[in-house]
């Protein structure tokens, strides 16, 4: 392996990180319990703008990745990862991954006055901004170029499966002439909501027909910024997946401790004990992998791309398996709409496609670790 020796990683949580976790968790427990999420889904849409305002602006999570001179918290990926763990644990429908991570990272990579203005808005929680890119777009994969500039910044084209595109104020659009900030309500912009498998992260197709925007970066800068954002998005998504897996494990353990069949608690059957113990082991491993990715991103470690690929290759599968075990071990209850297990299963499965599948990331590991395919 020619990549530099792995730097020592800090895989624990700091006191400030735990404080941040407590704040986010208690907000979500109060405002976005699974039953409340389900009720909002039934009422027409999962988003709760007030919840987002408190989370983004009052607790200040939207600006964690934004430097203080641009109005952000000047914190970093480790803190953002803790927020995502909690959002995963609550299957919370907020545009954090899209706006506070992906769009923010893209804007940080643009280094223009226009992008700085937008970052101030995002960091303050005054604006939601999502990249008009398919959620499945993976780091290391070729960037699509579906949007054309027909002269003078008049944009045309369509992008499918854009996450959280139902709620933003601004879309970041990659066109052949560079990256544009396009107000979501601008003339020539339309968004078609799609029926998504994941009920908690809505998708829409974005159509541009002669839409105008503000140029943020030239094509080369834009592409580099997006590549960086995809890397950090994939690395932080591992923390969301960890949160999902943790909720599923905790909830299942709690259920099997109290549910009686055959005159005893289900959790006393060795077949189930061993399964849950194995799952616990996987979750503990997922935590190390997710923390490593967050820390490598935070410190800009040279092997961050490998660490991120390892985290994605591992955590995707753990989240899906934990959610599948949660459904299975809840028996018939787990198959119902009323029980929140399905929200986590759908989120976990969609997350396993988001920002590259485990298979894609194993392919990246093959490259970084110099283990080429035959």
């Amino acid at each position: 392996m020619s990549s530099p020796a792995a730097a020592p990683l800090d895989l624990l949580y700091s006191e400030t990180e735990e404080e941040l976790r407590t704040a986010v968790r208690s907000l979500l427990a109060a405002r976005s319990a699974p039953a409340a999420v389900l009720a909002r889904i039934e009422a027409g849409g999962p988003h709760d703008p007030e919840l987002w305002r408190v989370l983004a602006a009052e607790i200040g999570t939207a600006g964690l990745l934004v430097p203080e001179k641009l109005g952000g918290q000047g914190a970093g990926h480790r803190e953002a990862a803790v927020v995502l763990e909690e959002l995963g644990r609550a299957a919370a429908p907020v545009p954090y991954l899209t706006s506070a991570v992906l769009a923010t990272e893209i804007l940080l990579g643009c280094e223009s006055a226009e992008s700085a203005d937008l970052l101030r808005e995002l960091a303050a929680g005054r604006s939601v901004c999502v990249p008009a890119l398919p959620l499945t777009l993976a780091p290391g994969a070729p960037l699509p170029a579906p949007v054309r500039d027909s002269g003078g910044g008049s944009l045309g084209g369509s992008v499918g499966s854009v996450a959280d595109a139902v709620c933003p104020d601004v879309l970041l659009v990659l066109a052949d002439t560079g990256l544009y900030a396009v107000p979501a309500d601008a003339a020539g912009v339309s968004r078609t909501p799609l029926v998504a498998l994941d009920l908690t992260r809505p998708l829409a197709a974005v159509h541009l027909d002669g839409a105008a925007g503000t140029l943020l970066a030239d094509p080369a800068t834009a592409r580099a910024a997006i590549a960086g954002a995809l890397l950090s998005g994939a690395g932080l998504l591992a923390s969301e997946q960890l949160g999902i897996a943790e909720w599923c494990l905790t909830e299942t353990v709690a259920y099997l401790r109290t549910r009686h069949q055959f005159n005893r608690p289900l959790g006393s059957f060795q077949a189930l004990k061993h399964r849950l113990a194995r799952l616990w082991l996987d979750v503990a491993s997922a935590r190390a992998a997710a923390r490593a990715a967050a820390d490598a991103l935070a410190t800009g470690a040279a092997d961050a791309p490998l660490t991120v690929a390892v985290a994605q290759a591992y955590c995707s599968g753990v989240a899906v398996r934990a959610a599948e075990e949660c459904v299975q071990l809840h028996g018939g209850i787990g198959m119902t709409w009323e029980h929140p297990a399905h929200l986590y299963l759908k989120r976990a499965k969609a997350d396993s496609l988001a920002l590259g599948t485990a298979g894609h990331h194993r392919g990246l590991v093959a490259d970084f670790a110099e283990l080429p395919a035959p």
Binding site: L135, F262, N263, M335
Partner: protein
């Protein structure tokens, strides 16, 4: 004619007689099915007069193949699966002559759909712990002799098709003072009787395929009791054994079942292919083919009258494969895999795996390892009955039902 003399050739000629008297092209579906039943070609191993000829069960395949080739209508086993797979063999084994004559014909014709009122909120895997009460009218006053109707109170859950069913197989507790397996009695319940309330129970797929059923003072005549009072568990075991056979025992062609849509997408859409998915697809393709062959071998063993223990494993295998294959399919579809067909609440008449999208298949397949006995329970059965491993220590078998922990 005795059963031993019934050969495949004899059955073929009976099929030909049926077809010439009732040409499928010019005969109404219902009329054809009635004629088929009356000719003893519905389920050939049933007795004469009840849709059969007392022939070996294996000869059914001969009849089915001939009829299918002639374009004869089928009786839509998917819609009437619980009746065909579970109610019918139980009624055949335990029913009175009157019950058999009353119920088997409309059941096979699909005129009367059946559902299964077994599971309860507190009694799933531990079905024998059920608490729905059936009290013989007059029992309380006149010390048991009664002789009148039964009055049933309780709640059932996860009842598939309760919203379309005309009849239900029902187990209820008739003596709470006995150990749980002993105080149960088996009934045939009229789903239109007063006091039967069916409420849709929405599931993970967005549909309400199963239901909650509330039973309040439901009267069941003693003539609709199946088997002896207090012998309901033995009767229910017949039903449950048949349930597993009917779930795992479907005959499928090569690349039938869940692997079909994935294989089709792979062939038609080269842009979706990756090395990783290729390896996983081939692994599952091989496993699906082997599962098919195992099922085929099982059928051949059965035809020779030497059933093997593999039968207990088929439902386990299909549940796991359905889940892994549908999970892979969602991934294969990439961006499309993020989408779902429709979340609108619906109450379908049948479960349709193939007519729906990959997301539906993925979610619905999660039920395959829960419905009809969970995979964990089936693994316990394989470990204990096939491998002869000792059971976990149990203290619930001799305890009065009313004293069990809940």
């Amino acid at each position: 004619m005795t059963a031993a003399a019934l050969t495949a050739d004899h059955l073929r000629s009976r099929v030909r007689e049926l077809l010439s008297a009732h040409p499928p092209a010019t005969t109404a579906r219902a009329e054809f099915l009635r004629a088929r039943f009356d000719a003893g070609l519905a389920w050939v191993h049933y007795p004469e007069g009840l849709g059969g000829l007392g022939a070996p069960r294996s000869l059914q395949a001969v009849v089915d193949a001939e009829l299918e080739a002639a374009g004869a209508p089928d009786n839509d086993p998917r819609r009437i699966g619980i009746g065909l797979g579970m109610a019918a063999p139980t009624i055949l084994a335990y029913g009175t002559e009157e019950q058999k004559r009353r119920f088997l014909r409309p059941l096979w014709l699909g005129e009367e759909v059946w559902c299964q009122l077994f599971s309860e909120p507190g009694a799933g895997s531990d079905l024998a712990a059920l608490g729905t009460r059936a009290v013989r009218e007059g029992e309380n006053e006149s010390e048991g002799e009664g002789g009148g109707d039964w009055v049933v109170d309780g709640q059932k859950v996860w009842t598939s098709s309760a919203h379309t069913a005309r009849w239900a197989i029902l187990i209820a507790r008739t003596d709470p003072a006995l150990p749980k397996h002993q105080g149960i009695t088996y009934f045939l319940c009229d789903m239109t009787a007063p006091g039967v309330e069916v409420r849709p129970l929405r599931q993970i797929t967005g549909e309400a395929e199963f239901n909650e059923v509330f039973l309040t003072g439901v009267r069941i005549p003693d003539a609709h009791r199946l088997g002896e009072v207090g012998q309901g568990w033995a009767v229910a075991r017949t039903t449950l054994m048949n349930e597993r056979v009917s779930i795992g025992g479907m005959r499928i062609p090569r690349e039938g079942g869940m692997i079909a849509p994935v294989a089709a997408a792979w062939r038609e859409r080269p842009e979706l292919r990756t090395h990783d998915l290729h390896g996983r697809l081939l692994e599952l393709w091989v496993e699906a083919e082997v599962a098919r062959l195992t099922g085929e071998r099982l059928r051949q063993q059965l035809a020779q009258g030497q059933p093997g223990p593999e039968g207990s494993g088929m439902k386990l295998t299909f549940a796991r494969l359905n889940q892994e294959i549908s999970g892979l399919e969602v991934e294969l579809l990439g961006e499309e895999g993020l989408l779902y067909e429709d979340w609108t609440l619906r109450r379908p008449e049948i479960v349709d795996f193939t007519g729906r999208d990959a997301g539906y298949r993925y979610l619905r397949a999660k039920g395959n390892s829960i419905e009809g006995g969970t995979s964990e329970i089936l693994l316990n059965i394989v470990a204990e009955r096939v491998l002869g491993l000792p059971a976990e220590p149990r203290d619930d078998k001799d305890l009065a039902w009313k004293d069990l922990a809940r």
